[in-house]
């Protein structure tokens, strides 16, 4: 997983990295084992935090448009991964926020479609800008 490979850069930039996924703590633990990651993974089975963060629930073109499929295939090749069985609501998109002590959010990227994900480099650059 790209984010996990960049975890030391998050630390170097002065921030923690926390992942939030759909489904249960057991699924979160399985995800960590399968991906070989050590960062915390929170389990939001009811997607309460997704809603509060403003994460989008996708429509058909957000999931299966040609650009989305092409980007997904490219990401799979780049990361040498394949899509396995989906756990959770397949239409739920994700996103990322940088939150500073005090609660301000200097940077946010909520996915517009299934292929629209912020790269670790973008998130780390946002952290560096925010703490500079």
């Amino acid at each position: 997983m790209q984010l996990h490979r960049a975890r030391s850069e998050f630390e170097d930039a002065g921030a923690s990295l926390v992942l939030i996924g759909q489904a249960t703590p057991r699924h979160a633990a399985q995800f960590r084992r399968r991906q070989g990651i050590q960062v915390p993974v929170l389990a939001d089975e009811d997607r309460v935090s997704y809603e509060a963060a403003g994460a989008k629930v996708a429509g058909v073109t957000d999931l299966f448009g040609p650009k989305v499929i092409a980007k997904g295939a490219l990401t799979g090749v780049r990361n040498k991964t394949i899509q396995t069985r989906t756990i959770g609501n397949a239409a739920q998109l994700g996103g990322a926020l940088v939150v500073l002590p005090g609660g301000s959010v200097p940077w946010a990227h909520m996915s517009a479609d299934a292929g629209d994900n912020a790269s670790p480099e973008e998130i780390i650059a946002a952290i560096r800008d925010a703490v500079a």
Partner: protein, 49 residues
Amino acid sequence: MPAGRKRSPLSRADGLAEIVLPDHDAHEVRLGDLWSERPVALVWLRHYG
């Protein structure tokens, strides 16, 4: 939220702070505690699959 709808990005995380979620070990974590001491990057995964 209806399919296809997207809200504007947040400028503050106050609406997230009091949400409590279990972690991978089933320990409860209050989201506001994650940024009480230092910045945090929160990443919502699309799914675990």
